[in-house]
Amino acid sequence: MEQALREICGSRVTTDPFELAPYAKDVAYVPAILVHLLTNPLPKAVVQPISAEEISSLIKWAKQGKIPVTVRGGGSTAYFNCIPMKSGLVIDTNRLQGFSEIELDQGNQKKMVWVKAGMTWKDLDDGLRQQGCAVCSSPSSAPSATIGGWVSMGGLGIGSVPYGSVHDQIMAIRGVTATGEIVELSRPDKSPARNQGSEQSDLQFNDLMGTEGTRGIITEIKLLVRDVPEKEEHLLAIFNNATDTGVMMSWLGGEHFMSLYNVHFSSPEFMMSLQKAGYAHEIPPGKYSLEIDLEGKRDEVDQAVAHIRKQVKVLGGTLLPDGVGAEEWADRFKSLRLEQTLPSLLAAEMTLPVRNFAAFYERLSKLGQKTNTLCVTYAHLVSPDMALVMVLYPSDELNLIRYIVDLSFTSNLYKLGHRLGGKPYVIGFWNTPYLGKIYDKGERERRRQRKQAADPYAMLNPGKGYNPPNIILNSYVFGFAMIMIGLFRPMVLKILKGGKGQ
């Protein structure tokens, strides 16, 4: 195997167990007993191709031997999205680096670049800013998430309010199909396609959007970029309760300010955890904070700031002094600092209608109190009416029983969110039991058909995104198991006296 791979990728191949081990992990800790019960995550080999041609050869080789192929970018997700379920070959895209000269579309006067899949979003943004441009939006994990990785996930993050999902910013995409064909696919609703779909495998543009490397492999995207804004303002507003905060979020979404770039919510518990670690001391304890980021033309930003100031006052909130918001913005990629206070966190991430945000937060608080669980929440506004909500709660990976019973609480969080119109943000492996909550029956069937058409031998990232790959992950079996484990949770926490995590 190694010899064949070396013929394609030279020395950029490893089968050394020491090197392979990290490719069986992502950011989430999952007890080995669960991992090995459900998956075989250790790849047989990892390769680092530097071109679409190499990836094509790798896919053709893997197809011959029926070897599963899993693509990995930054490895910065938490649901085993890029972890093999059936061992096989991992294609690490991190050597696909660089971006083209900025092009100006004469028709719509929009700027765009071709960027390779392995670049991180931060590296791309830094590089563009040297030329007076910037990415339109980026994930909150921009220093680690790769271009291909975020496009393969939900694509929501900082800047999604004005620019939408990253999927909306892609004009064309280059990739490799499950048969090893190299394709360039143009956005169907934009310019005339050079190659509307793959001839051999029927791969289509949308097959590569948010599908976690299950239908094809992204090697390069043509991305809309923007000019560096004339002005930035970063406001930090604090409120006394979740209701006013939720109203403010809805108002911000509904006003359609041209310059509204990002809105970030932090719960009092989140701030308290940061403050215990020595951060965010400017924010009074017990308050609900909203960081409001405005970017754009000078007068648009100034007008929006004036309106926002008034509205904050109307809702009984307070704007903190200038500089506090700017500091929060500068630290926007450092939310994990709360792990200094609360290591070993478990989480649920979901999209939620912003009109229900306050109700969700209030019910979450009650659930936390009832189950003696400290819930730490932050959220981004990702469209005028939708928020991406992250709820974290402490566990202890050093205590297997505690950790396993704590996992059941994630199920409670998704249930709570679902009642209020929420959906798990990404699927990966661990969220396959929730597929029914994410897509309706028709959509699930349509997705399965597309998978079958694009990857008939189920070679690409098997076990993810379509059907629960294991009876244990069947939504009914899993749901029942979670309820049963959840019943034991209060008793276990009581015995361990770990109700608040520490």
């Binding site: 990290p22 950011v27 910065s76 830094d126 450092k334 290591p343």
Partner: protein, 389 residues
């Protein structure tokens, strides 16, 4: 000084904080060269978690030791860490543990023996510390001169390595031009101990620290200056901790002191018609917080067209010469340096400056290896050249 058990406890606690997000990956100069996850800081912390928190001692393999020592200690991972982990401190603690386990790289063991024998990192006897003075015609360098206001701590690299002698020669020439009453320690200057700290050998540094501080105190100087970024970091950040007391005199990097002389007009910069860029040494910039004074000196020279590299100040890339990396893997160190000199050339600069003898040496070698049209100099060398021209 902490016991090894206390250090291990600290490593365990720190490793638990890491969320494995991977922000550290793309900024790590070593990961960018090696490319495998095992070389990324997050993986090293994950292994530390296994060994120290979960007590899986079998994970402490030779490959684990090698990866821990393939690090320039540049601290860029700490700068970007989403969890706010002081990673540089963690790497040093892990190296202390490696040494305690007998897993230290053999070249580092050899280097420690060398320092013990000669009190410097070279194979020359310490009496040769002032050989670089022989080439100075117009400047008289006095050793341990009583009543001096300033002591100049030269550092091993520009004391013993001819390609770096220009730095010490420029510094004393500038001090002389500004009529500064200074002295040097000569053979009483011992290695500051930075290379030992970087190899997890803080025990051996105690003796060096005691000796150096005692000798400087005996001179009664108000200020100690050094042109070496690592010596500066050790004097200002490590010695007070190791000795558990204030030093009793001010310690400045040569660029800080010279910038002060220019501000007070005791020294006037000359003219250089060149496009110049500046490489922030990790130990002076990110790890000590000094960014402005070297730039102040460059901009004080008439004719200098100063241009910045994209990676600068807090986010400056490492030269590849830090953390004893060259002793562990010379090719890796050189590959990192090559990236940095290419970045300098891309700015249009014809001169790349730095404020660290190790950085200058490493970058000089890379520029030569790549046959790039780039001269690499210390800021003090360029400043002296501006006056000579």
């Amino acid at each position: 000084m902490k016991t090894i058990e206390e250090l291990r406890e600290q490593i365990a606690k720190t490793s638990y904080i890491c969320g494995s997000c991977g922000s550290c990956r793309s900024v790590c100069p070593v990961y960018r060269e090696i490319g495998w996850e095992s070389s990324a800081p997050r993986r090293k912390i994950a292994l530390a978690k296994e060994v120290f928190l979960k007590k899986k001692e079998k994970q402490a393999t030779g490959q684990y030791a090698q990866r821990l020592q393939e690090c320039t200690l540049c601290g860029k991972c700490a700068e970007i860490c989403a969890a706010g982990i002081k990673t540089r401190e963690l790497w040093l603690n892990l190296r202390e543990d490696l040494r305690a386990r007998g897993m230290e790289h053999q070249n580092l063991t050899q280097m420690a023996l060398q320092v013990k024998t000669t009190h410097n990192i070279s194979t020359f006897p310490n009496e040769n510390r002032l050989d670089w003075v022989d080439d100075l015609d117009e400047v008289e360098v006095e050793v341990s001169k009583a009543g001096s206001e300033v002591a100049y701590f030269v550092g091993c690299v520009s004391s013993f390595y001819p390609m770096s002698a220009g730095i010490s020669q420029s510094i004393v020439s500038l001090l002389d031009r500004a009529n500064v009453n200074y002295t040097v320690l000569g053979s009483e200057e011992w290695c500051c101990g930075f290379p030992l700290l970087a190899s997890g050998n803080s025990q051996q540094v105690l003796e060096l620290a005691k000796h150096n501080v005692e000798k400087v105190r005996a001179l009664g100087v108000k200020t100690l200056i050094t042109g070496c970024a690592s010596c500066y970091h050790t004097w200002t950040h490590e010695y007070p901790t190791i000795l558990g007391e204030d030093l009793g005199f001010e310690v400045l990097h040569a660029t800080q002191y010279l910038a002060g002389l220019i501000r007070t007009k005791q020294l006037e910069a000359g003219n250089i018609d060149e496009t110049v860029t500046y490489h922030d040494p990790c130990d002076l910039g990110r790890n000590s917080g000094i960014y402005d004074e070297p730039r102040e000196l460059l901009q004080a020279m008439e004719g200098v067209n100063f241009v910045e590299m994209p990676h600068r100040r807090e986010m400056a890339d490492c030269c590849g010469g830090g953390g004893n990396l060259a002793a562990v893997d010379k090719e890796l160190s050189q590959a990192i340096a090559v990236k940095r000199v290419r970045e300098a050339v891309a700015t249009g600069a014809t001169i790349l400056t730095s404020a660290c003898q190790q950085c200058v040496q490493t970058l000089q070698m890379a520029a030569r290896q790549e046959k790039l049209p780039l001269e690499v100099l210390d800021v003090t060398e360029l400043l002296w050249r501006s006056l000579e021209e």
